[in-house]
């Protein structure tokens, strides 16, 4: 997947754990873990909105496109 999830960096910058984020956005730790490890196939706007609100960031801070990865695939 050429779409990268930068949740780990955002959490690290805010000294926040995945468990704390899970409690704030009311999304299960398992689902957040799937998202963080890049195993998710899709993300709902509602999930993105909740995470952006909790981390006070923009969707672009969480998502990135890796053209090289796309070429490899």
């Amino acid at each position: 997947m050429a779409i990268l999830i930068r949740l780990d960096e955002q959490l690290h910058a805010r000294r926040m754990t995945l468990t704390q984020l899970s409690e704030r956005v009311d999304i299960t730790l398992a689902n957040l873990s799937i998202l963080k490890t890049g195993k998710a196939k899709a993300i709902r706007f509602s999930t993105l909105e909740a995470i952006c609100a909790a981390l006070e960031c923009q969707p672009g801070d969480l998502l990135a496109f890796d053209a090289l990865q796309q070429i490899k695939e």
């Binding site: 689902n31 709902r44 999930t47």
Partner: protein
């Protein structure tokens, strides 16, 4: 799931198990009948009140052919019941929208179609041999059931694809 569906689901498995046993008994009975027709003189025609001498020259073979078709039908019904049992199990497990169930429904549709074609064959033999007794006529209900099953298998295929799309959505 509403209460009626839940109740239907809970009784489905024992009913399918019962029907499977009955179907096996039916197949064995026809097999015994067929074998006996070769070794016992005039059996079962005499017991059924048939006088083969006054009937079509091939009447005995016609009846035997109907028995073979009956055994084939029983084998097809067995596969239908087996697949139906697996589908019911997946519904009870809460995960029915899978491609395997779509494939099973598709095969059940073909099986029901096969049974209907066998029924036509039986009717044709009975009519051709002028066999006595009530064989039943052609009704549209089974053909509608075949159509419904093919449509349902398509619905399941689409449902399974949508379900696969949802897997991994956060």
């Amino acid at each position: 799931m509403n209460r009626t569906s839940a109740q239907a689901l809970s009784v489905a498995r024992p009913i399918i198990a019962g029907l499977t046993v009955l179907n096996i008994f039916y197949a064995l009975s026809i097999t015994v009948l067929l074998c006996a027709s070769f070794v016992t003189e005039g059996w079962p025609w005499k017991q059924l009140g048939f006088d083969l001498a006054t009937m079509h020259a091939q009447a005995a073979n016609g009846l035997r052919a109907i028995m073979v078709i009956g055994m084939t039908g029983a084998a097809i019904v067995h596969t239908i019941l087996r697949r139906l049992r697996v589908i019911v199990d997946t519904v009870r497990a809460g995960d029915p929208f899978i491609l395997d169930n779509a494939r099973r429904l598709h095969l059940i549709a073909w099986s029901v179609l096969g049974i209907e074609l066998l029924r036509i064959l039986v009717l044709a033999i009975a009519t051709g041999m002028s066999l006595p007794g009530q064989m039943g006529g052609l009704t549209p209900a089974p053909w509608l059931a075949v159509l419904l099953l093919f449509v349902l298998s398509g619905v399941f295929t689409q449902g399974a694809r949508m379900r696969a799309d949802l897997d991994g959505t956060v």
